[in-house]
């Protein structure tokens, strides 16, 4: 999979690969000469397995493609049957996934504030109301708890609603419904009612949006039994996870990030659905396992460049599935590198990183050569001031320092 970093602000400039990168050091062991450089753009290939035309992985059925398409025209490898794909931005990828699912299944509907005529605050549902009508793309009044509950009632009676929180933080108002009803009703009804809802929306620390618009709700929701949580980070996985979430019979919370909506990438033309429970190998390596998700993936990859220059070989995994964790991918990595660094945007206390640290300690303690290090955001309401905000979240320099420390 190729991720192309599109500039969209000062931070993005830092993300884009304007810095030099030594391609010789960056080798994917299983494929030949996969790295490439196109001008100022860094193309990062994910786990090298190539799926189209070959059998999907054992547990994925049918069209489930979990890994990258063998993409590039320049590839000297066998020409595959796949078309070159098309380029789009992350929010467009989400919309594409949503539209495909709405075309496929008439019970799929969307509800949320300003999803209809306005097209969604981040344009994920743009033009869908014109195509599908006002009832199928429903503009709700500002009553998160009630319209989330309404989505749950609709799901129990046969629809497949997608609830958009205009900002994830607003879903705090829907906590009653998400915790009590969304997660629990399948169980308390003895399995009689399924709740195939998708709850999605932008979260995370943005650009000086202030404390309340910069929240990371994954930590609050993670204890709720009965729900699954996934976080998307690239247009490719955004579309794939959106489709998987809609098709899942379980309630799924899909975390998007405010700053990632304008990422551009080339994604396959053919249909693909990703697995909700699997992690994504971003960069295989030998020295240290770096686990991350959502926006921090890009800070990690930026740090990775510096680290490679310094002679380190980090393995970067985007865990994607925040609940449950993909202990197989993570475990295999830990067994190989023996060192773990977790980089997340969640709060220090009780965040995803904290749970992940516990899970790894429990399951893979024997394989660790060093204590697990978890870099999280400070336990601070995100300040407005740009400088303070920068220090709230983990920056690439801190990641580099942590790796150096761990790999002594």
């Amino acid at each position: 999979m190729a991720a192309i970093f599109h500039g969209f602000g000062p931070a993005a400039a830092a993300l884009s690969s304007s810095s030099s990168f030594d391609s010789k050091r960056f080798q994917l062991p299983s494929l030949k000469s996969q790295t490439e450089r196109k001008g100022s753009v860094l193309v990062v290939r994910s786990d090298g397995r190539v799926i189209p035309g070959s059998n999907p992985k054992g547990r994925s059925a049918g069209k489930l493609v979990t890994n990258a398409v063998a993409a590039k025209a320049d590839s000297s490898a066998t020409a595959t049957a796949s078309k070159p794909g098309h380029e789009l931005l992350l929010f467009e990828a989400l919309r594409e996934g949503l539209e495909e699912e709405m075309d496929r299944d008439p019970t799929v509907c969307v509800m949320g504030e300003d999803v209809g005529h306005y097209g969604g605050s981040y344009k994920v549902t743009k033009d869908l109301a014109t195509k599908y009508g006002d009832l199928r793309v429903l503009d709700t009044p500002i009553a998160e708890n009630s319209f989330t509950g309404m989505a749950i009632g609709a799901a129990m009676t046969g629809l497949r609603p997608i609830v958009e929180g205009m900002n994830m933080g607003f879903l705090l108002l829907a906590f009653n419904q998400i915790s009590n009803n969304c997660g629990m009703l399948h169980y308390t009804s003895g399995g009689q009612f399924t709740i195939p809802v998708v709850i999605r929306g932008p979260g995370g620390v943005g650009r000086q949006l202030g404390a309340e618009h910069s929240q990371r709700l994954e930590s609050y929701f993670q204890s709720i039994p009965g729900i699954q949580m996934v976080a998307c980070s690239t247009p490719y996985n955004a579309k794939g996870l959106m489709k998987a979430a809609i098709r899942s019979e379980n309630p799924v919370i899909l975390f998007e990030h405010v700053l990632l909506y304008n990422l551009k990438e080339r994604i396959p033309d053919e249909e693909y659905v990703l697995s909700l429970e699997e992690a994504e190998m971003v960069r295989p390596g030998e020295h240290i396992t770096i686990l991350t998700y959502s926006r921090m993936r890009y800070h990690v990859m930026q740090a990775a460049k510096t680290l490679v220059n310094k002679g380190y070989d980090p393995e970067v995994i985007d865990i994607r599935s925040l609940k449950p964790f993909d202990l197989h991918t993570i475990g295999n990595s830990v067994k190989k590198t023996h060192r773990v660094l977790i980089v997340e945007e969640c709060m220090r206390t009780g965040g995803i990183g904290a749970s992940l640290t516990a899970a790894i300690s429990e399951n893979f303690h024997d394989y660790l050569d060093a204590p697990i290090v978890c870099l999280s955001s400070q336990d601070v309401p995100t300040p407005y001031a740009g400088t303070l905000e920068e220090w709230t979240v983990v920056q690439p320099a801190q990641i580099v320092a942590a790796v150096e420390q761990l790999c002594q």
């Binding site: 509907c109 009832l135 009044p141 009630s146 308390t188 009612f193 709740i195 039994p225 379980n250």
Partner: protein
């Protein structure tokens, strides 16, 4: 307030108007005497003295539509009044349902004190007219959502008594496999969507069920899909945000839902009057653009008339209705409630208006049934309830393997274990011993 229930009174305008002069103003909060904030008992009971000049604190008047419906019927026919509102068949069905509700709840109390069921159990004694009055008019595809006082709603909707009793005993044969309990009665077959422990949280779910009905008709083009949803909740819930948010959405989109308020005047120990700025709940309907109706909830026939009207509206796509049923619970809030706060005189007053006694009297006076037939029904229900207890007693407790079974509809949600397989593929998983 209207007391004994008789054929004549049914077709009169609702008794509220009859016991005071027509010049007297309706309940006017600004003119409430200062004793409002004084002794609850005194205040509450004053208006029950039934004198023509007594202050109208709790007198409410219904939206005229309902009494008009009833009045018109009288004008049309001078013949036997009993045929006006009910046939014998319907009458027997109603009576059976009322008796089932009462006997079942009485048995629950017995079983609780014998240690067969635990936790919070909220009994419905006294309120049967509301459940029977509304739910017996529904089709199987219509949905019912309740709060924690939900045993009788489930029974009226058709969930077998043995399934409910088993659920209360926590057995696998319960309607929710023993996983829900008293406050979470669910039945997919009979479209009972809960059973909720927190008040108010069922109302959005009910709104969602109504939304699906509209969606089916308008988006999925299922012609003639006219399923309605009933949401039952109490007076305390009517001060909760979810109530108001859903009134708004239901009226906005003209959803086929009826909001049924079972105003039994008490939220555990909190009197409705002490908690609510304007205690007349039916008035809150028109504020959101739907009719608000007040009805005597101790009178099953009156409730049924109002229900017919409201359900008809919803089926025709005319939108939601708010129905406030003035009712009363004869027992405490739950079996753990000593019920010391309520005035014995108030309890006695409502006990005299027992919906079952009144309906029995109605049936007999109007020759819809005789003593023997009603006794036969009572005996039958006694047996049904006893059999339910026997069944529940004999049913097995859930085994360990049941612990994790219904957490996810798709058990892949438990994730992938270190060995690369999905956790749910682990044979120990169903035994409940797998490490999750």
């Amino acid at each position: 307030m209207s007391s004994a229930f008789s054929a004549i009174k049914i077709i009169q305008p609702l008794p509220l108007k009859s016991s005071r002069s027509s010049d007297k103003p309706l309940f006017d909060p600004f003119r409430t005497p200062s004793s409002f904030l004084g002794s609850i008992h005194k205040f509450r009971f004053n208006s029950l003295n039934n004198t023509p000049s007594s202050p109208c604190h709790l007198r409410r008047s219904a939206v005229v539509a309902v009494s008009d419906v009833v009045k018109e019927k009288k004008l049309k026919s001078n013949s036997s009044l009993s045929n006006l509102l009910m046939t014998k068949e319907e009458g027997l069905e109603v009576y059976e349902d009322l008796i089932l509700g009462r006997y079942f709840e009485d048995m629950c109390a017995q079983m609780y004190y014998r240690g067969k069921m635990f936790g919070f159990v909220h009994l419905y004694n006294g309120q049967e007219a509301v459940s029977t009055g509304f739910i017996k008019l529904l089709k199987k595809e219509d949905s019912v959502i309740s709060t924690y006082r939900d045993h009788v709603h489930a029974l009226s909707k058709g969930v077998p008594a043995r399934a409910v009793m088993s659920e209360l005993f926590g057995k696998t044969t319960g309607c929710c496999r023993g996983q829900g309990g008293s406050m979470h009665m669910f039945s997919k077959e009979h479209n009972v969507l809960g059973g909720f422990a927190f008040i108010g949280e069922g109302i959005p779910v009910a709104t969602g069920a109504a939304f699906t009905s509209k969606y089916r008709r308008e988006v999925l083009k299922e012609e003639g899909c006219d399923h309605v949803t009933l949401a039952f909740f109490g007076d305390g819930t009517c001060n909760n945000g979810q109530f108001f948010e859903c009134l708004n959405m239901a009226a906005l989109w003209k959803l086929p839902i009826i909001f049924v308020v079972e105003n039994n005047l008490w939220a555990i120990g909190m009197s409705h009057l002490r908690a609510t700025s304007d205690p007349e709940i039916w008035k809150k309907g028109p504020a959101f653009g739907m009719p608000g109706v007040h009805v005597d909830g101790m009178d099953v026939l009156k409730v049924r008339e109002v229900a017919k009207e409201a359900i008809g509206r919803a089926r025709r796509g005319e939108g939601p209705t708010l129905v406030e049923c003035e009712t009363y619970r004869f027992r405490g809030h739950s079996l753990a409630d000593p019920d010391e706060l309520r005035d014995p005189a108030e309890k006695a007053h409502y006990a005299a208006r027992d919906p079952i006694t009144a309906f029995k009297k109605y049936m007999i006076e109007n020759k819809l049934a005789n003593e023997a037939e009603l006794k036969a029904i009572e005996k039958k229900i006694e047996e049904v309830v006893e059999e339910a207890v026997e069944f529940a007693d004999a049913s097995p407790h859930p085994g360990r393997s049941q612990l994790l079974e219904n957490v996810f509809a798709d058990p892949k949600g438990f994730g992938i274990g270190p060995d690369g397989r999905y956790r749910c593929e682990d044979p120990k998983f169903t035994q409940g011993t797998a490490h999750v």
